[in-house]
Symmetry: C2
Subunit: 198 residues, 2 copies
């Protein structure tokens, strides 16, 4: 029978998204077998994240400093604000280095199903940032899901009284995407938003 330490580690791992009880058990065995090459690096990495990372009090990004590197960067265009659901979306957008402005992380999306209400997200803080002025454009970069779009519409209503331009990401065929494999919704959006060649 496995010791209580192993049971606890298995349980802690099985609560991660993407790992069930069986794969958590396999992961624990892997960690036990490869202590120096797997367990100890994971332990150190977790510890470093736990010790050093903080949530930016301005935008909700996760970084070693508060305000985060993006909010503190004077070369960033303070007039453009990109609102995203999660930190992962911020990273994905920032990796492209195409957006010169700052970000605002909501911390999720409105969801009747999961009981996520406006007060559960960082929406009041967003409204306060826009109300404080100095922002010309707010990009509502929610996911192209039903819940993401519901959230975008809700934000648009909350922000319409301010003198800012509200925009959203374009829908269309992903670069490298094959029409054959795309859903009808994407195809319809791509066709509706078609542009003159060259």
């Amino acid at each position: 029978m496995a010791s209580p330490e192993i049971e606890e580690l298995t349980q802690a791992l099985s609560r991660l998204p993407g790992l069930g009880p069986r794969s958590a058990r396999r992961a624990v065995l892997h960690l036990l077998k490869k202590r120096e090459s797997a367990l100890e690096p994971l332990l150190r990495a977790l510890d470093a994240v736990n010790e050093r990372l903080v949530t930016c009090s301005l935008c909700g990004n996760v970084d070693t400093v508060d305000p985060c590197g993006i909010c503190a960067d004077p070369r960033r265009d303070a007039r453009a604000l990109c609102v995203v659901e999660d930190v992962a979306d911020l990273w994905a957008l920032d990796k492209s280095r195409l957006f010169p402005g700052r970000f605002h992380v909501l911390g999720g999306r409105l969801s009747a199903l999961e009981g996520v209400r406006p007060e559960d997200l960082s929406i009041d803080a967003l409204v306060a940032r826009v109300e404080a002025g100095g922002i010309d454009e707010v990009v509502l970069a929610m996911n192209a899901t039903l819940e993401g779009q519901t959230t975008a519409h809700y934000l648009a209503e909350r922000l319409e009284r301010f003198p800012v331009r509200l925009t959203q990401l374009a829908h269309g065929v992903p670069v490298g995407g094959e029409l054959d494999y795309l859903d009808e919704g994407t195809l319809a959006q791509a066709l509706r938003a078609r542009r003159p060649l060259g």
Copy 2:
């Protein structure tokens, strides 16, 4: 862009079996979002495993003591030894509480494909245990895979010169198993080993 701490944690997690880079990233975000309910328990559990667990020098089991609880238990039948590939197999067999003896963990299986040779497994230690005497029966409880069975045959050759009974687990229809879903190999084994009714 994610900080180096996050990249390192993502990499450490993505090396776990069952987690790819994308799900490791999702797991990291989950850990960052739920620090108190996910990150800190995982950190504590990993630390406890790293600090407290040792490999039993007799059988290869993982426990907080060496010799492990099974090897040290005087109620265990020292004359019966069950050889398994991995610690997980030991736990699975021991959970059933049907085997009264002790165990020996090989630490893997012979595999030409993965380059696992006899000297990479705890085979010499097994031979030494059997040679030391006091053992009547050795159950070769390898997995019912090609590599498991190759390993069992190799062990049988190594152990045949000692006065012990070598046995293996029975093959057949798993309890609750539907014939329809079983492979031909299992069905053939089950038919060949058929027994008179009750």
